[in-house]
Symmetry: C2
Subunit: 499 residues, 2 copies
């Protein structure tokens, strides 16, 4: 690759030996640094390599010691065998094709038909743009869910404070966009974190201000640590402003459920410091231990806090796992109405989120209840998924802790384990020689040896000198023990190779 | 509203007489200027006022000389009575609920079932995240459509150059994000333009560089005008770089179809200057005169041009009008593969666009053909919509030109008319006294008098001293003459009031 100076715009790329070269006006070095430097490991180099392996396996070329890759890199339940819940999908099929209602032979339960009719009365045409915040009736259903979830004795959910989006990702990006005006504007993000945050903050040219979770106490959040992080930032950046604080509860990639006392301290800290709280609660239905999950909204309301907060939820996780539908929302609490007007303006630039995702979001938080025709099947499907996830969370925690030199905190929630590897010095040296992060090398070698696709801890950020990876707990329960066997065999071989 | 200096972060908002005041950490004046200053008139103040009127009409309060508002502010066909095409919706209903295939009583045509099966074989679970570019099979179908559309004698469409997105808006934003690194990076945009461009460029802190279309020659595009605009920009901005050039064809808000010769000159100019061409072709199926539409891709390939180009298409417009589904794509041509890798990385941060939108995009460009069971109904539905739009385009053009002091170029394509109003000086003075743009005042008064919601020309940008508005041609054909009557009556009264 040769760089030319002409107008600072052109690059000559040698297309291949003996081929003519091709000049491009738009080259990578012309892109904003924010794009070039943003990283997104969940779909990074290892996942791309897994795709190549899949293609070779499918074509019958390549020689691998396994028959198929196992995608444990992403919380994508339906890609690894999960079935969608019948009720929501029956409703969706009517919304996409209302003539199904006229088909007398169609034996959908009455509550499915009634639900679909209600949705179509409130929003006649799903092929039309909706209000930029989302269909009013859907926002009302979600507001009622929030009231039920947090307790009717507290402030009721407010449809006007809800913005429906294409998955929670878009909502997170909107809020971060509002918080970052300059490179000195910092957003506190837990380490380890979900890389949507680091990538988006980088894209917005803001300051990613990591605060460490404490691994040994089950990835707990400490307000004291956060305070120290803020103090250090302000000292080092006289013009620095701390604009937001992200919490991910249940944790991604770490799988913990936050203690209520820690949550209270975070709320108090944000209120006192004038920091906007971003509560990523998309895994709120994924709880596997006796430790209960509680919303940040509820904690704030019980404390009578005026903390300014956006919380996020999604159709992608929980026991419904409708990732591909792209439904999500953010709820604003204690946010200046004028600021919400600006958020509305931003949302209106994309006109609206997809209407079927909006309907799915409303339906998922308003499922059949006892007495409804669909309830028995719904309950069975839900309980099957949740009990399976619980058993898998326990199995993955137990098995990973049996690997020599591996420790893994209890998977209390979400869909992930984040084990720590005692990396042999020889492996660290070998990785350095290759210009790779040691955990990246570990995950790469695991993929080549086992077909299991996981994401290196360095993709999520981790305490310097520690090495982790994130694996989902999602593979089919019947196959999971064999997957863990392969991971264990690889691990032992890796240790032997590098010790 | 009182501004306090404490940490530069807090505002005191008086909540109401006698109530305590409320401090917010996050206030509008703390948001990035790019957000505050971005404008999006298509859902701006007049549309918000229309919403208030609707609410009052519904509640039986308020006193208006009409029974309902008529939304002519947005190209949203299904919101004003258009019906979705049966074939695509039948396919969608199976994709959302595959058990419909097992229902022997279900009398969907065989080609519907076959299509749905093909889609489900290529992508088993629509509730799973897809590849970040979109499902490979859908990209293959779209690539074949592109080959058919532009001619098989030219280069075939390439699935790897396609990125499926939530409507074309997201695709446009991705590309603009890549082009703008600094406030001196300019993107050429036609005046008048669709405000997605001005708003997005403002949000990215880039330079909106308008080039004028020539109204008198049917809103034609002139390469000479663009060259002058570039020369002036470079003279005024020594560090300025012209990074992209947007064309909207058929035109929005202007409704013209570009001449092939003008297109050739634009392609040549972009190639010569190293400017990336952004071809917004979402209205490509909306053609109402003998003047044929041709893709920029075809023009470039026929010229054997190496112009670097992104073109955009969508499920929202044409005769399908599936706005709410949010399906769209961008096709990259002659773009550096390394740049496409960066685009892929950006797309992967949101994981994927909604999978039902992806399927709809593929289905819409691959409709039933002669001999398929669904073809007769499909053809009838398509022809009904297109012939209706053609008649409405002609009627709107004719009628607007009959209004005294109004001229309107022929609506050759898209879904809009953009009439010019000879604004009386007294109206200009009255608007100035109110701090309003004269065309804003005109549209506001039209809404209050008639219920018809249109968007002032100032929301799209227009030549200084000229005044326009954009109206869709979408109202129901039976009602359209009466809507035009009301607009005409208002116009005459407006002239009388201000002359």
């Amino acid at each position: 690759m040769i760089h030319l100076a002409s107008r600072g715009l052109r690059r000559v790329a040698a297309v291949g030996k003996g081929q003519c070269s091709r000049q491009f006006a738009l080259t990578v070095d012309q892109l904003p640094a924010a794009i070039r430097e943003a990283e997104y490991a969940v779909r990074g180099a290892i996942v791309i390599r897994a795709g190549e392996i899949d293609a070779q396996l499918k074509a019958g070329t390549g020689n691998f010691p396994f028959e198929a890759t196992v995608p444990c890199n992403i919380g994508n339940p339906q890609a690894v065998g999960a079935k969608p819940l019948t009720f929501h999908r029956q409703v969706l099929s009517i919304l996409t094709n209302p003539s199904l209602l006229d088909d007398k032979a169609l034996d959908f339960p009455e509550d499915v038909k009634a639900r679909a009719k209600t949705y179509m009365e409130s929003f006649e045409k799903f092929g039309a743009y909706s209000h930029s915040k989302g269909v009013a009736h859907f926002r009302e259903e979600i507001a009622k869910f929030i009231t039920r979830r947090d307790g009717a004795h507290l402030k009721a959910g407010d449809p006007e404070s809800l913005f429906l989006t294409n998955g929670a990702s878009d909502a997170v990006k909107y809020v971060l966009t509002m918080l970052i005006s300059s490179p000195d504007d910092a957003v506190l993000v837990p380490i380890p974190q979900y890389p949507l945050y680091s990538a988006s903050i980088r894209m917005l040219s803001g300051h990613f201000l990591g605060y460490y979770l404490d691994e040994e106490s089950g990835w707990s959040t400490s307000a004291a640590t956060i305070k120290d992080t803020i103090a250090k930032y302000r000292k080092d950046h006289p013009n620095g402003r701390v604009r937001g604080l992200v919490v991910i509860n249940p944790g991604n990639p770490t799988g913990q459920i936050m203690d209520e006392k820690d949550m209270e301290e975070v709320v108090e800290l944000c209120e006192k410091e004038g920091i906007v709280l971003l509560a990523d609660e998309v895994y709120q239905e994924n709880q596997y231990t006796a430790k209960p999950w509680k919303s940040f909204r509820k904690v704030a309301l019980e404390k009578k806090s005026n903390v300014e907060m956006f919380s996020f939820h999604s159709v992608s996780k929980g026991f419904y796992g409708e990732c591909g539908i792209r439904g999500g929302y953010t709820e604003a609490m204690n946010i200046d109405p004028d600021v919400l007007d600006q958020l509305y303006k931003m949302a209106s630039m994309s006109l609206c989120s997809n209407t079927l995702g909006q309907a799915t979001m409303a339906s998922i938080v308003n499922p059949p209840v006892e007495g409804d025709a669909s309830f028995p099947l719904y309950k069975e499907e839900r309980d099957t998924v949740l009990s399976g996830l619980k058993r898998k969370a326990e199995l993955v925690t137990k098995r990973l802790n049996e690997f020599p030199g591996v420790s893994c905190q209890v998977v209390e929630g979400a869909m992930y384990a984040f084990p720590k590897i005692q990396m042999p010095q020889k492996a660290i040296d070998a990785a350095e020689a290759k210009g790779q992060a040691p955990d990246f090398m570990y995950c790469w070698e695991m993929l080549e040896a086992t077909g299991v696709v996981v994401v290196p801890g360095s993709g999520f950020a981790q305490k310097s000198g520690t090495f982790h990876y994130r694996t989902t707990i999602l593979p089919d329960e019947a196959k999971l023990p064999a997957v863990l066997d392969r991971m264990q065999d690889f691990h032992i071989e890796f240790l032997a190779k590098y010790t």
